[in-house]
């Protein structure tokens, strides 16, 4: 497909709708995903996605809008997951697994009963651009805005609860209510992302941009904002790639969005490793004062340490040590001391 044809395709009404839906999904999913990753529940979105399959199937069976049945069932599933996580004090993962498989199996079974077979479900499992109707774009936009408003508006409270629930409880926050809110918002963003990324891959959009942005970010706020930006870029970019490939083959947008997000991760990860290593090497040595054993002189030293010598200079109390072959050399008059 030539560039002109691609631009023509992107200018079509259904494509514009899909791009808007993808952008909002790309922003909302990593926003709530940051809190889920913070609480070390990275696979929660995946679980909610599986449960939501049953919701979609119920919509197909009853003729109701699958978007709304999915929202309802996903919220119920998310609340159940949160309750199990909170109450069960061991092996919560097994309980969650039971729920995931139940959701997926139930969804496929009910879709079969509805007579749609796997093809009807396919659109929801891996996303589909062309099938998004104008009304669904408005639902998606509305739900995404709700997720974004609540997530960013309650950022201080949600951060306090996610980073230290006990402290938050003593500080008077209703920890359970906030945890349930995060679960419900996660469920809503799963259904928001259903039409673009698909239920089976939605969790990737909640987790992968966060994993990418935390390679380089030092603070929670910058992790969150970068994750949103990366999510938006991945969603739009993946959709354009899927549209571009559509001339030759049928490509669902979900896989291309997720693979693009993963490519971003693969590109930043080595940088993150390098930055963290440099930061660790430059970490100052603690100044122990009189407690440390006395320094002793280095007998002979072949060169003078300095900016150009290639040995890392690390702060140590009020002076600089040069790390040299497993030793720490500190300049002392004409010679070097071992520190």
């Amino acid at each position: 497909m030539s560039i002109a044809e691609l631009l023509d395709l992107l200018g079509r009404d259904f494509m514009q709708r899909a791009l808007l839906a993808a952008l909002l999904t790309g922003l909302a999913a990593p926003a709530i995903g940051t809190f889920i990753v913070q609480r070390r529940l990275a696979l929660m979105g995946d679980g909610i996605g599986h449960v939501a399959v049953t919701g979609v199937a119920l919509g197909l069976l009853t003729g109701a809008s699958p978007t709304w049945t999915a929202v309802v069932v996903a919220i119920l599933g998310a609340v159940l997951i949160e309750v199990i996580r909170e109450r069960g004090h061991t092996n919560g993962d097994v309980a969650l697994a039971l729920l995931f498989y139940g959701g997926l199996a139930g969804g496929v079974l009910i879709t079969g009963l509805a007579g749609d077979g796997a093809a009807g479900l396919q659109v929801y499992l891996f996303g589909s651009v062309t099938s998004i109707s104008p009304s669904e774009v408005w639902y998606t936009a509305g739900l995404a805005l709700v997720v974004l408003t609540l997530t960013l508006g309650l950022l201080p409270q949600l951060f306090a609860v996610a980073s230290d629930p006990e402290f938050a409880r003593v500080a008077g926050l209703r920890v359970r209510a906030y945890n349930l809110l995060v679960a419900v918002l996660a469920a809503v963003s799963v259904t928001v992302a259903m039409r673009t990324v698909g239920l089976l891959l939605v969790s990737a959009l909640m987790v992968v941009p966060v994993a990418t942005s935390q390679q380089l970010a030092r603070s929670f706020r910058s992790t969150l904002l970068w994750a949103m930006a990366l999510g938006g870029v991945a969603a739009i970019g993946g959709l354009v790639v899927a549209a571009w490939l559509s001339a030759r083959a049928t490509v669902a947008p979900g896989p291309s969005i997720v693979l693009l997000a993963l490519t971003m991760f693969a590109a930043t990860w080595p940088v993150g490793v390098w930055v963290r290593r440099r930061r660790r090497i430059a970490e100052p040595f603690p100044a122990l004062g009189a407690d440390a054993p006395g320094p002793h002189e280095v007998e002979e030293h072949p060169h003078e340490h300095g900016e150009a010598c290639g040995h890392p200079a690390v702060q140590h109390g009020d002076h600089v040590d040069y790390v040299h072959g497993g030793h720490r050399h500190a300049a002392h008059g004409e010679h070097y001391d071992e520190h």
């Binding site: 940051t34 990753v37 913070q38 609480r39 070390r40 990275a42 199990i84 109450r87 069960g88 004090h89 061991t90 092996n91 919560g92 097994v94 309980a95 039971l98 508006g153 309650l154 201080p156 409270q157 951060f159 306090a160 996610a162 980073s163 230290d164 006990e166 402290f167 938050a168 409880r169 003593v170 500080a171 008077g172 926050l173 966060v210 935390q214 970010a217 030092r218 603070s219 929670f220 706020r221 992790t223 930061r279 660790r280 970490e283 603690p286 100044a287 122990l288 407690d291």
Partner: protein
């Protein structure tokens, strides 16, 4: 200062706490008055951490009552008056957070929903960072700090809410000596500003000169309450341990909860 005439800040009567149906604390009375620096001491598993958790409302009482500033704990709404420093290990989560962000989250007790941080918030956060000596590291990621520095971050977080009463759970456990000294310096500043401090400690170390009252727990009861004791009097011989003490031995299954523990029926 030992303050026999001051107004009671913490008033615990007949405090009894059960973990998984097993009574761990039994019938403890404790009154802490304004400005006191109290150290809760005792061997591992003696119930000192549980007592502090009961005083902050993290552990429900099955008997007895706790009043903070004269108000029953359940009705106590002025949460900005207390600062809680939990046992270390919770400062870093799955996402990087800067020192300043963690300290700022302590301001939550004074921030209503949807109100952006103001000048007073920023000043309190700056002050908290300065008291614990971490101003220079405010932009660093919490997970890159040493254990002792992370502990100081948690103290600064409690401090940011400008509370009058501090509960600290084992702030010196596993902290190296220079950091223990920095910690002691921060607590001295707080104490001199008039704060009431209740601190759980296995060993006092550099905190010893600050403490003006020691409460020693033994097997879930307060065994001693009075002027500080020498280390040997509390425990002549002990072994260090890693991780929290598990009061309730258990075997779990997916939907098992503490209160549904089948062994409770037999007791």
């Amino acid at each position: 200062m030992l303050n026999p005439t001051g107004s009671p800040v913490v008033e615990a009567r007949d405090v009894t706490v059960a973990l998984g149906g097993r009574p761990v604390l039994r019938g403890n009375d404790l009154v802490v008055r304004a400005g006191e620096f109290v150290a809760l001491m005792g061997a591992n598993g003696s119930g000192k951490s549980t007592l502090v958790r009961a005083l902050t409302g993290l552990r429900p009482l099955i008997q007895g009552s706790v009043h903070l500033f004269g108000t029953p704990l359940a009705e106590f709404k002025e949460r900005h008056r207390i600062g809680y420093v939990p046992q270390r290990g919770t400062a870093a989560g799955g996402v990087p957070a800067s020192v300043r962000e963690v300290v700022a989250s302590g301001r939550i007790t004074r921030r209503s929903i949807l109100r952006p941080a103001g000048k007073a918030d920023r000043a309190a956060i700056d002050d908290a960072l300065e008291v614990v000596g971490l101003t220079d590291m405010a932009g660093d990621g919490v997970s890159t700090l040493s254990g002792g520095q992370q502990q100081r971050v948690l103290i600064a977080r409690a401090l940011a809410g400008e509370p009058e009463l501090f509960f600290l759970d084992e702030p010196t456990a596993g902290v190296d000596l220079p950091n223990q000294r920095a910690l002691a310096g921060a607590l001295r500043t707080l104490s001199e500003r008039g704060a009431t401090i209740v601190l759980v400690a296995h060993e006092l170390g550099p905190l010893e000169p600050l403490v003006d009252r020691a409460v020693v727990m033994r097997d879930g009861r307060i065994a001693y309450d009075g002027p500080p004791l020498a280390h040997e009097d509390v425990h002549a011989h002990h072994h260090p341990f890693a991780g929290p003490h598990d009061h309730v031995p258990h075997v779990g299954s997916p939907f098992d909860t503490m209160s549904l523990d089948p062994r409770e029926d037999r007791r």
